[in-house]
């Protein structure tokens, strides 16, 4: 058993499951948005605004946002682990990897905070 404190859920199984479920949410959300755009004959700001005025749409969007963030974290965590490691970078790997993960974490947190602000128009 290899343990790692920086992975999202600290078990590979849950990470894997989260990545699969979040992928499904993102796929459904994408299909919905693209479909809505295609089936809306004259697209206007009012219609777009009206869509996002509805609570279910806000929840759906927030769900997609959370999915995006967790999906991205797991994916980026994997990529950092593969390429920013001791074999590739030597001793400085730990620092570089930690800084990259921190940066990634900040960006993703900003996505969430900003997204909530936009959705609920705070």
């Amino acid at each position: 058993m290899v343990t790692n404190i920086t992975s999202l859920s600290r078990t590979g199984l849950r990470d894997w499951l989260v990545q699969r479920v979040s992928a499904v949410v993102l796929a459904v959300y994408t299909v919905f948005i693209v479909g809505w755009l295609l089936y809306t004959e004259t697209l206007s700001f009012e219609l777009w605004h009206a869509l996002f005025e509805q609570t279910w749409m806000r929840i759906f969007s927030l769900m997609a946002l959370v999915s995006l963030v967790s999906h991205a974290w797991i994916g980026m965590w994997t990529i950092f682990g593969d390429y920013l490691n001791e074999r590739a970078l030597g001793k400085k790997a730990l620092t570089v990897r930690f800084l990259s993960q921190a940066l990634c974490g900040i960006v993703l947190f900003v996505y969430i905070a900003w997204g909530v602000q936009i959705l609920w128009g705070l």
Binding site: M1, V2, G12, L13, D15, L17, T78, D82
Partner: protein, 236 residues
């Protein structure tokens, strides 16, 4: 018939860096030699050329190497499949430290194999005869127990290249599932618990190079899928 062969050479006692060396080997017409036969002919020219070999029939797994860019066993790869652009190019298995020429240090590969506890665990007292197993239960082990530990799969796997110390790799996972699938084994829970972490199994990204190169035609990716399913069933 003359055959051009380019082989990877590295002797740490002499060379600071590895290099490719060309040999011209006379091979008989009308007979499709195996790559291993060519290796022996090269060794007759230059006895400092080094490779592993034993059974010469594809069951011992000694002579895994990179043949014309693809991992395989030298003894069962005929020249007709191995020679590309009129040249045979031989390199050691990728991703493992080279000891000398085509011989790689397989310690990490064996360590990952041992990590999955590749032996039957059953603490109930054995019967006076064999433990019964139906032909259907036994059939689940087909495609798993035949592995020859040649390391062609694991050294073709990018996830294993990046994490040979943490990701068990296709060969080890195939063996892991061989015991998970054995009706005589009682340590399923413990075995699965050992595999839950983000690396051991889950570094498999389904690239399937392992399936592509396996000289015995086995399917480690499928076995990994079965392990994931078992983990999911256990976890939910």
């Amino acid at each position: 018939m003359s055959l051009q062969v380019s082989v990877y050479r590295y002797n740490p006692e002499q060379d600071s860096v590895p290099h490719m060396q060309d040999f011209t080997v006379e091979v008989p017409e009308g007979k499709d030699l195996m790559v291993l036969d060519v290796l022996a002919l090269i060794k007759e020219q230059d006895d400092s050329f080094v490779y592993r070999r034993s059974c010469r029939e594809g069951v011992c797994g000694s002579d895994g190497m990179n043949i014309g860019g693809t991992n395989g066993l030298a003894c069962i790869t005929p020249l007709s499949e191995a020679v590309r652009k009129e040249k045979l190019v031989l390199r050691p298995l990728p991703g493992l430290p080279v000891i000398r020429d085509l011989v790689v240090d397989m310690s990490l590969f064996y360590k990952q194999y041992e990590k999955v506890r590749p032996y039957l665990i059953n603490d109930t007292p054995p019967p006076a005869t064999e433990r019964l197993q139906s032909p259907e239960e036994r059939a689940k082990l087909d495609g798993l127990y035949e592995c020859v530990l040649c390391a062609c799969c694991s050294t073709a796997c990018p996830s294993f290249w990046w994490n040979p110390d943490k990701f068990v790799g296709p060969a080890g996972l195939l063996q892991s599932y061989r015991f998970l699938a054995d009706s005589r084994d009682t340590a399923t829970e413990e075995r699965l618990s050992d595999l839950e972490d983000p690396f051991s199994v889950f570094r498999c990204r389904g690239i399937m190079n392992c399936v592509d190169v396996c000289p015995k035609g086995l399917n480690p990716t499928q076995a990994i899928g079965h392990i994931r399913k078992m983990l999911l069933e256990k976890g939910s």
